[in-house]
């Protein structure tokens, strides 16, 4: 009886475990395998040959895109944190009975396909669209001014698309703060600003880090915004991976690029999990 009891969690885990093994962990391994192949699709297919040269090749050729992706993604994460914090703070502390409705409104963008939303930004930000067209009519902008195809458009698009991923973990962390702590700080004659800086902000830091991870990691790999809103000068590493995999069929090089992204991500996630545990980040996903 005792042994059977102890096996229960493993029974419960087994279908999901097997599924994640076949459709998550093994594919990651096979991608590493693919990245070490050589040959070409037209010259008799690919063969496994410990071709580490693939990594040197892609790192050499696509350094610019790697750096660009990281820089864009850092800007996006920073701006998204800045934009989300005041909003989630207010909802968590003063939302009262409107909390869940406000949170639902915040998640509303998820109800419309990501691709459709991004295409609409193309119209909103268009050279003669509702924003620029208006500013041009009243003479605030020169006629030839445009934002599409610039880094600004791509960064703005990614920020828009990932903002809910920043806001959710922040909200979850702020919501859990015991509001009486703020009262206590005020009773001890701290100003509202001091109470925020010394009580709320430090307690919300795990949420800030979770938000950083859940925004920065996916944003670095994004390519939809760069291909819809960007131009030739805004190509990100995701665009290269997508092209090599789906257009050029250069699987080993594409896989090598993707493995580099994956390794960087796993390192970041491991450091995060070691320091803060996995609770905070997955709790945010549960809140969604």
């Amino acid at each position: 009886m005792g042994t059977r009891r102890r096996l229960v969690p493993y029974y419960l885990l087994s279908p999901g475990g097997v599924y994640l093994l076949i459709f998550f962990l093994i594919p990651l391994g096979l991608m590493v395998y693919t990245s070490l192949q050589s040959g070409g699709l037209l010259s008799g297919g690919f063969t496994f040959s410990w071709e580490f040269q693939n990594y040197a090749d892609v790192l050499g050729s696509y350094q610019t895109q790697f750096i660009r992706s990281i820089v864009y993604s850092l800007i996006v994460t920073f701006v998204a944190l800045l934009l989300s914090y005041p909003m989630t703070y207010w909802i968590a502390f003063y939302g009262g009975r409107w909390k869940s409705s406000l949170l639902l409104l915040l998640l509303m963008p998820f109800f419309v396909s990501f691709v459709i939303r991004t295409i609409q930004w193309k119209f909103i930000l268009g050279d003669n669209g509702p924003v620029l067209g208006l500013l041009k009519t009243i003479g605030l902008l020169p006629e030839g001014f445009g934002v599409l195809s610039t880094p600004f458009a791509v960064v703005a698009g990614i920020t828009y698309n990932y903002l809910p991923f920043t806001a959710l973990p922040l909200y979850v962390a702020l919501e859990r703060i015991d509001k009486r702590l703020v009262e206590a700080a005020k009773d001890l004659y701290s100003s509202r600003w001091q109470a925020f800086r010394k009580v709320v902000w430090p307690l919300s830091l795990p949420g800030v880090f979770a938000a950083f991870l859940l925004t920065f990691v996916p944003a670095t790999g994004d390519y939809v915004n760069a291909s819809l809103l960007g131009g030739p000068g805004t190509t990100m590493i995701g665009n290269i991976i997508q092209d090599k995999f789906l257009t050029e069929n250069a699987y080993p090089q594409a896989a090598a690029l993707s493995v580099i992204l994956m390794v960087a991500m796993v390192i970041l996630a491991t450091i995060y999990a070691r320091i803060l545990g996995t609770e905070e980040a997955t709790r945010a996903a549960a809140a969604a």
Binding site: P9, L12, L13, P15, G16, Y19, L20, F23, F24, P27, L30, M31, T34, P86, M87, W90, Y94, S100, L104, L105, L106, M108, P109, F111, V112, S113, F114, V115, I116, I119, Q120, W121, F123, I124, N128, G133, Y160, L163, P164, R192, P218, G221, V224, I241, F245, L246, A255, S258, L261, M262, M265, V266, A269, T278, T282, R283, A285, A286, A287, A288
Partner: protein
């Protein structure tokens, strides 16, 4: 006596309860900002809905609004290829969500309820599955399908969608299981319910809202997914893939109409979920 009372009372009334000098922050500035942010987040949705009624001269969306028409709503399915893509999306989403919810619920129960050897490793895998960039997941699945010479299409899309949804369902259910009052189940066992009966009569009804939320999340994730689907779809189209492909020459307004219909359905589902959770949460 009465004079002092009249002096004090108005003073108390004028002052909001907490830290009066800063009240405008929490009463006007921050709420105003929050509303602006919500409008910003919703702005492409407004554009989508509005431009589904745009009376354009051609058949591709333009930045200019020409006037109202119901033509696109009347001819939603009048675009070659689009109805098939839409149908595929609507077929894959419920299947993927149902399977992922079944598997993910069991997974979430195990994670939320039991302490066992290997828990931390399993936790970490779930965490990775949520944090992994979609492009890495998509390209690794494609690597596997290419190596295994699997034909890409409907089946590979479905299998991939189930895969990335499981982790999300699992954490949703886990959060609810961890918040459960264990004494309710113990009470059931004290009343001679077998573990299985206890589960069906006590645990399952209590975690039902989380299972429903997990299902809806998995449904939306599947319906909306572009990146992973793009890698594993082969020649098969889904709604987001079709739209992405079409936008090179411009998107037909029917896309906005379909987007609006899906949006409306999602709002209804979300409201049902919220009210369901509210009712059950109190029970």
């Amino acid at each position: 006596m009465s004079a002092t009372a009249t002096e004090i009372v108005p003073e108390v009334r004028e002052l909001p309860p907490v830290n009066p000098p800063h009240a405008r922050w929490t009463r006007f500035i921050l709420p105003g900002y929050t509303i602006l942010m919500i409008l910003y987040l919703a702005s492409p949705i407004f554009v989508m809905i509005l431009y589904g009624f745009n009376d354009i001269p051609g058949d591709r969306q333009t930045a200019k609004f020409w006037g109202f028409t119901l033509d696109w709503w009347k001819n939603v399915f009048n675009i070659p290829g689009l109805p098939e893509a839409f149908k595929n999306s609507l077929l894959i989403a419920p299947f993927s969500a149902a399977i992922a919810t079944t598997i993910g619920t069991l997974f979430g129960l195990a994670l939320g309820r039991y302490r066992f050897r290997g828990l931390r490793a399993v936790d970490f895998v779930i965490f990775l599955a949520i944090a992994v960039p979609e492009i890495v997941l998509g390209s690794s699945l494609l690597s596997m399908f290419v190596l295994g010479q699997v034909r890409l299409g409907f089946a590979t899309i479905l299998l991939s969608h189930i895969g990335f949804s499981i982790a999300f369902v699992a954490v949703t259910v886990r959060a609810r299981v961890q918040g459960l009052d264990r004494s309710l189940e113990e009470a059931a066992q004290d009343l001679f319910a077998t573990p299985i009966v206890g589960f069906y009569k006590v645990t399952l009804p209590l975690i039902a809202p989380a299972i429903l939320a997990g299902f809806l999340l998995a449904f939306v994730l599947s319906l909306d997914d572009f990146v992973i689907t793009n890698f594993v779809a082969g020649q098969t189209n889904t709604f987001p893939l079709w739209v992405f492909g079409a936008q090179r020459i411009g998107i037909p307004p029917q896309v906005n109409v379909m987007g609006t219909i899906l949006f409306g359905a999602a709002i209804v589902a979300a409201l049902v979920n919220v009210f369901g959770q509210r009712r059950r949460g109190r029970a």
